[in-house]
């Protein structure tokens, strides 16, 4: 246990993974709901600052994989390692792990009874014990960076879908996570609002954020991903840099999936 997942570390401290250890490693992960096996042995290694796009048909297990990685769903078998430490070990407190992993959901899930600013500061203040004034300064800096400073006092229902999703991204970022999980964050948005959210993700990628992104936006995946992983039948059927996976897919299932996407005019 070289890197303890600690509750006491300062929120903003730069996390340095031990030399050579990946930011995230998933080994032989399976997940069943009742008798239904959604994930049947997923193996995935993510290096620091890598951006992995998970693609695959609806129901292929992309969301489940993300929810397992931040322990919102207990895994059935296999293990998840964050910066060289196993977080699926029984002795690990999931609440501590989740402070280091940001997740953004398809349906934003902002807290409707709190202003934008409160949404963003809740985690840092309550989970990380950052002083409120400090947390608010940090939140405003993030809001300014992503062009939302004037919405700090608004309640989420006053915001457009794109703005809400950007706030949800900022809420996750405010925890200074080592890893961001994005679960089809543009799927619920009107087409004209998708770009503003994708721009945020691009900026994060350029800033070196390690990200695991479940998405249906193939053009975006090709553009931003260091690697694309195609999920089918509960496992990663194929993973490769985008040019390779989109240009020369080797697995028959990948080819079929991409053909359908191309026929639909989305690639």
């Amino acid at each position: 246990m070289s890197v303890p997942v600690s509750a006491t570390g300062p929120a903003g401290s730069a996390y340095v993974a031990p030399a050579g250890s990946p930011a995230l490693e998933v080994r032989g992960l399976t997940k069943s709901f009742g008798g239904h096996e959604v994930l049947r042995g997923v193996d995935l290694v993510v290096a620091p600052s890598e951006v992995i796009c998970l693609i695959g048909a609806s129901g292929s297990g992309k969301s489940t994989l993300l929810r397992c990685v931040n322990l919102l769903e207990p895994v059935t078998s296999g293990s998840v390692w964050l910066g060289g430490q196993e977080i699926t070990a029984p002795a690990i407190d999931p609440d501590l792990v989740r402070r280091h992993i940001g997740i953004v959901f398809q349906s934003y899930n902002l807290f409707p009874h709190m202003t934008v600013l409160k949404n963003i500061t809740l985690g840092p203040v309550k989970a990380l014990r950052v002083p409120r004034a400090q947390a608010e300064r940090d939140a405003l800096a993030l809001l300014t960076r992503f062009g939302l400073a004037d919405r700090a006092g608004d309640y989420p229902d006053r915001l457009s879908g794109g703005q809400q999703q950007r706030v949800a991204m900022i809420r996750a970022l405010a925890m200074s996570p080592r890893l961001m999980l994005l679960d089809e964050v543009t799927s619920a948005l009107d087409p004209e609002l998708v770009a503003e959210v994708l721009d945020v993700i691009r900026e994060l990628a350029q800033a070196g954020m390690t990200m695991l992104i479940a998405t249906h936006e193939m053009t975006f995946a090709r553009d931003v991903a260091s690697r694309v992983a195609f999920l089918a039948d509960g496992e990663i059927a194929e993973q490769a840099p985008p040019s390779e996976l989109f240009g020369n897919p080797r697995d028959e299932r990948t080819r079929r999936f991409l053909r359908r996407i191309t026929d639909a005019g989305r690639l």
Partner: protein, 293 residues
């Protein structure tokens, strides 16, 4: 922004029938109300026993004397006694709001360690929701004094009454809170937990604030009921409005004093009922507004 006819219809007073042609609607509603009231008044006045009923239930002089009371003749003022109902109501309400929330949170907990508490909470709710409130009031009001304990057995009947009401209503209100907690989408829990909040923190900062907002109208509904049920404490001998009316009634052998008590209870409950309506209407407007976003 100009309002469409649809908006106007929606805003038009429900009580007055609203709709197209506000003035015509008001006139129609007024006329039909007068006709209905006149029919009822005629039925009442023309009934064979009308004079006797008026003397027994609606004697103005009896109603007046019951309202102000007369210590010299040995009867209490119903108007003064209602203050005890108000005080009992306010005390009970404050305790119930807290106790029921505690019960609800315990019942919604999932930790294996809390299982014994969950069992106790479940038993509490089952028992006190199932036993008629008046029997709970009896049990507390006569049971605790009979124990001959130092402080517990020497309280005023009103205190036992409040305790009885708290036991009974906490069980109901607990279930109202629980309905509210269950109405908060699970995605909100996921969002809170993904920020590293513990289960109690997620409950306190994310779930409960939303749950309580949702259940304010049904909570107020229960409290309207609680206001009336303070009259049950009369069985313990506390001189509240119902008991004062009973004493007056047994000295003059008419029921006009009870009508006074009934009217006073209406004066208390109707404002709360209208306030509840107002909150429900506001919620509905908000939901309609939210649906268009």
């Amino acid at each position: 922004m100009t309002e469409s006819p649809l908006d106007l219809t929606r805003r038009g007073s429900r009580l007055l029938g609203g709709g197209q042609g506000q003035a015509r609607g008001v006139a129609l509603s007024t006329a039909s109300t007068i006709v209905v009231l006149a029919v009822f008044a005629a039925l009442f006045l023309l009934a064979p026993g009308s004079a006797a009923v008026r003397h027994t239930f609606f004697s103005p002089s009896d109603m007046w004397h019951a309202l102000i009371g007369d210590p010299a003749k040995g009867y209490y003022s119903v108007g003064a006694a209602i203050w005890l109902n108000i005080r009992m109501f306010l005390a009970a309400e404050a305790i119930i709001l807290v106790a029921a929330l505690l019960l609800a949170v315990i019942r919604q907990s999932t930790s294996p360690v809390l299982l014994p508490l969950r069992v106790v909470a479940l038993a509490f709710v089952d028992v006190f929701r199932g036993v008629p409130t008046i029997l709970v009031v009896y049990a507390v009001g006569f049971g605790l004094p009979a124990l001959n304990l130092a402080v517990v057995s020497t309280q005023d009947p009103a205190v036992y009454g409040v305790l009885g009401l708290v036991l009974s209503y906490s069980a109901y209100v607990c279930e109202v809170y629980r309905a509210g907690i269950n109405s908060v989408p699970l995605a909100q829990v996921s969002a809170a937990r993904s920020l590293g909040l513990t289960h109690p923190q997620a409950m306190r900062y994310v779930i409960l604030p939303q749950a309580v907002r949702t259940v304010i109208p049904p909570l107020l509904n229960d409290f309207i009921s609680l206001q009336k049920d303070t009259a049950l404490v009369s069985v313990l001998g506390a001189i509240e409005a119902n008991r004062a009316a009973e004493i007056y009634s047994s000295t003059v052998f008419t029921y006009s004093s009870f009508v006074v008590a009934a009217l006073l209870f209406l004066v208390l409950t109707i404002p709360l009922a209208r306030f509840t309506d107002h909150l429900i209407a506001r919620d509905r407007r908000r939901r309609l507004a939210g649906a268009t976003v």
